[in-house]
Symmetry: C6
Subunit: 301 residues, 6 copies
């Protein structure tokens, strides 16, 4: 059924994916040094911070930086499964897993699948990262079920072991493997707490929204607007974050400021662009919307 | 068993479906320009607004407008699976998914199915849209389980990736792909909130019921009643919406006004038609029903 | 194992079932005209009303009336699957589905089943009605899970489409298809509310218990008692309904009055027949039972 | 593995089971006449009453009485499946189903099972009763899930139909079929209420513990004690039931009195027999136990 | 994978297991006579009592005593399935099932399993006991799900029937079969109550911790300490039980006293042995631990 | 797909895993003697204590000490399944299972899996330990579901039996087998209590964080910092634990102090290393973070 569409998209083998070009990343503090020290000692790392402040971009950047890739994986087209993508061992794979409350241990470790007459074991993404020696990034770990959280314990102490119980195996992680978690303490509730038996297995790096000048550079680079417009958007982001005491759940992320810049680039007037990309995106509350609108109007007069 | 009925209905391949005739759509504001700007920049879009105010019709209209289809997919009859429906790449497929709390990630991404002796992978509707490069419209996204919501995250940042973990694949979306969500902030509750980590990945367009004159034109066009009757029905819609402070959960949608018009066309008296198509359809509360009845009687004397 | 019992029962193919004789139905108001108008315009219909006041009988009657069947489907005996039941297209199939909280989307749409070496797709009852162009009657819709409710949305707007996601198909309903829902607003609670996004897709017809003289005629016809006895039973029904303010959850339905009549026909004394068929059937509360007993004794002195 | 034990037990085909000897049953009122009238008119019957007051025994008795069996089904030994048990159609099968909250619709209706290379449909006990034309006795119906309760609706109106959706079939019940439910209003709670849409499909017969002289005759017949001892045990039962206002959830059933009689027949002293068979069996509450002990001591001095 | 370890352990067929040597059991009252009387009349038995007071040991003893085994089942080594364990019918098998909230009816009755190309029915432990005519001991019955509890109802009245619905069979229990339940009324809560419809099917024997002199003999026999030390340990048990009013959930069981004795035999000082085997094992509450420590110190000065 | 990565990692058969080098363990009290006494008498052992105080390391140490391994299991490379790892019976396997709320009985005992045309039974990790005669360490037992907890009961009394109900087998544990549980009483809640029927089957050893001088030696050995720095880190650990009354859920574990040491070894300044490895890792609360920061600053001036 999908034969006529197979050339429109690219596909990768999960454990061979890694950034092939340097991701655009502007450091805010010593996070690069901290991550390099932890990686050198193979200490698992926990990223803490709000939505959209660059955690995902940072782990991509570190994967590129630590991997110093020499060759480029050529994308696998359509459905052909001949895995001749050459991985020369010098690149650092990055396996990203978005956690959610229905993610099972089998989703991470693997499962048996019927293929024709025989049953075939398919490694899950965590097992793939453990075997390939890459970074495994578990995004929003507090969303995961307890079995997922517990599963990573033996991988985060001196043993670096992954039990694959359905196969009666213990896998010792390849040398390059490191586990990285992210979570947003702002969401933290009694039910969704990261247990001490889990969190005391990581060094923690706290992330915050970038300062105005750095954020402006990011917006300029990513959206294509000029520097003064980017600065105004960064100013907007800063001011909206200050509204958090006034009933706003979470401030506007850098991503939304970039969206506003892109809408402006596409010809939408700045005030309208900020309304749809920032104001309406951030809240449904009419009175908070009025406050943000005033901020927008004060910047884009 | 179904052999004798096979010629009564039409069937389409999901990712080849798209409107083949211009859907009737009357714009209320700059929503067409906003959507075109977002689509041009491939920024995901969130529609916010109440039931039945035209969100589904609008996405169909934009799919038709952006796709400018030159040829018409010929419907696949009965159960024959020879997929010779020619898709020339210039049309923009529209894949609509009604979200609900039991929708699983597998429902969206795909699953293995036994076919005879062998196991066959069947792409889910999201994967089909990603591969075919169409618009994927997730209707009522807050109804979805968290795993569904999280699944779309990597599709909505710069990576545009869909992980298909059961196959160990990452799929990079075809160029035409865009994710569009809808949700109704009126239903928003603590349990069914759209998380910030999700909503800050979209520009948002707010929808409201159309003003009286536009709604009258829609009712006239869709139900076949004449212009004065359509205007009276639009007036009824407007007045019923004003009753919302008096215990009415949600006002009458344009769709119900069209139903009333169609019942009138079928010979039912206006007052009775409005009673069954608007009043009884909108509420079960006897006192609210009396209020609406008064409104009906004041319009259709 | 069932070989010795196979001639004792009849079996039908679901989508070929329709009333073959005129069901006994006495109209109370203009419900026949309303339904015919809605069916002519293919507007989905919602029946509202309490238990046992004739909703199921009415949809059967309308199916017979609109179908004007010329020939009779011959029942399929035992397990033989040769589906030569001739359906000439002029009859209107009636597919009834009793909703409950465990009814899944697959139960309605269909599923793959292993048959011997190969997997066979079996259409669910909704798909059967969509393909055969019949009336699909979803009884007690508020009992259904949300995935069921959402599934019917695209079938109830201008598209008349049923997505069969496991097969990657969209089915456009055959011309005769109409969706009819029933629900009992008396049961309506916060948890079991019919959502506005669902209810604003239907015209609504409200049902109430029939007035005394009509109910007496029904009881007389269905139970075989004579007219005076039937009138007394109808009077009993009316009076018991008036007890609803005194702790009785729901009044006695017409069906229970018919049961009382049948018990009387079988030789049980009227007072005793009303006790087991009405009083004990309607409530377990001793004080309410005493009130009803007084009513029974006052009528059947 | 079970080869050495195969001759120790008997096994029956479910829908061929029926009492082959007259069950011992002493009527308390006109329950036999009421049941015969209802069965003659094929009106479904609801038994209401507390634990252990003879509802199960009564339905067995009525199955025997209405069936007037002429021949005896010979038990099927071990695992041999050759179903040559001759059922001549004059006996009335009795299919008993103990309801519980995990009983699914498939448990009642049937399911597909793999057998070797092919899939075989296995009728559930309800389908077996429907096809064989027997009494289907659903014990403790309020324990059942909603899908089970709803399933029986079309079997209890004029249609007498059982939808077997997985096979796309509607089965019309064989002539002898009747549905009988039991439930204990004492357990009735908001969550476990029998819905009106279900209960108004049955005539109801209320059961109470038998009066002292009848209960004494039952105890004498079933346990083998002499008449004076049986009367003392019946007196005990009566007095313990009167303690219900003093914290006792439910009084001692006739069954427990029979147990006490049997323990006495086996040589245990009456006081001790009543302690283990009645007092300890009925309650764990020390103060209630003391009250019952006083009653026992006052009777068996 | 397990080839190198196969000679290290023994394995038995479940329904052939029974104690082959007389279990050490010291009766406290007339429990042996009561059980023999109930077994002789095939009245099901309910054991009530706290943790570790000998219920499991008692049912093993009764199984040995009633079975008077003449020969010894020779253990089946490794995985060989040739069931030549001779069971001469005079022994009384004992099938023990530890109940828990996830135990399903299928776990007890049996299920179909694929074996190679064909499907094989595997009897569950309850079916095995029913067929083999053994004692089936359901430990901690209140932990079981309702479907499990209901399943045993027809086995506990005069019918002694087990419905095996997946096979369409009713099994009549072999003559030796008896159902024995245990439960701990101390755990009894609203949610985990033994329903009257279940408990009124059993005679009940209440168990309590043994008196000091009997407990001392048990500790002496099982742990190997001398009589004076055993008496001191029994004294400790008695005193700790008296602390129950002071915040201790449940007193120390005889088993823990035996553990203390064994630790002493292994060279640990009595005070320390009692600390790890009794005090720390029984509670985590620091203040309760201090109270128990005082008791220990007062006995082992 | 994984062919190019197969040489990067090691894998072991679960029941052959055991520490091959003496794990670094510094005893705090008589825990080694207690464990040896319990193991000699085959009394199951319960470890109680907070996160990261060395329970896992201790069981590894005891497994090494009691096993006195003479030869080294050679790791199995990649996926080759020829199990020639020579286990001479003198080593003591250690099977560790991290418990969680989704761990099923089948996960522990084993399950049938399809392999090609036939079904193969795969022993779970508990069965493997029972058969191989190793230590089975169930970490965080209170997280497990009730079926898991109940499953271990017959393994912890005199019978040492594991019922494998899906195979109709009872397995008697090999001589070397011992069950060891761990749990953290600090997490203990009403819902996650270790039931008395479970806990009274174990002797209990309580663990606490090591005293400052021992902890300093551990930090020195594991992280590579010099003795004075290790002592400062141990001092930090001690002081942070004293903050527990000030809103800190749980103090810093030894593991986090080792992480801080390793970060220092990798060139990060001590204050910053302690911030990321101790302060941010331990809490998200800003005021608690300030308190810990003061402690850090007072130590590393």
């Amino acid at each position: 059924m999908t034969s006529s569409t197979k050339t429109l998209y690219k596909s990768y083998i999960i454990e061979e994916y890694h950034p092939t070009q340097e991701p655009f990343y502007l450091p805010v503090g010593d996070e690069i040094e901290l991550f390099e020290a932890a990686y050198g000692q193979r200490i698992p790392v926990l990223f803490k911070g709000p939505t959209g402040c660059g955690k995902t971009r940072f782990v991509e950047y570190m994967s590129w930086r630590l991997g110093k890739p020499l060759t480029k994986v050529k994308p696998k087209k359509g459905k052909s499964d001949d895995g001749d993508g050459s991985q020369n061992g010098r690149e650092l794979p990055l396996v990203t897993i978005a956690c959610h409350e229905d993610l099972t241990a089998s989703d991470l470790v693997g499962r048996y699948l019927l293929e024709g007459d025989s049953t075939v074991w398919i490694d899950g993404p965590l097992t793939r990262a453990v075997k390939a020696g890459g970074i495994c990034y578990l995004d929003e770990i507090v969303e995961a079920r307890k079995d997922t959280t517990v599963l990573i314990h033996p991988l985060t102490d001196h043993r670096r072991l992954l039990p694959v119980e359905k196969r009666g195996e213990l896998i010792e992680a390849a040398d390059g493997f490191l586990l990285v978690l992210s979570y947003n303490p702002g969401y933290q509730s009694a039910l969704k707490d990261l247990k001490h038996s889990t969190r005391q297995r990581f060094v923690a790096i706290e992330f915050n929204p970038p300062p105005r000048d750095i954020e402006a550079k990011i917006v300029e680079h990513e959206s294509g607007v000029d520097a003064p417009m980017a600065l105004q958007l960064a100013k907007l982001g800063e001011k909206v974050r200050n509204l958090r005491e006034h009933g706003l759940g979470e401030g506007a992320s850098t991503r939304l400021l970039i969206y506003a810049g892109k809408m402006i680039q596409a010809g939408i007037k700045p005030r309208r662009a900020c309304q749809v990309a920032v104001n309406w995106a951030v809240t449904d509350d009419a009175s908070v919307q009025r406050s943000i609108e005033e901020v927008i109007n004060s910047i884009f007069e």
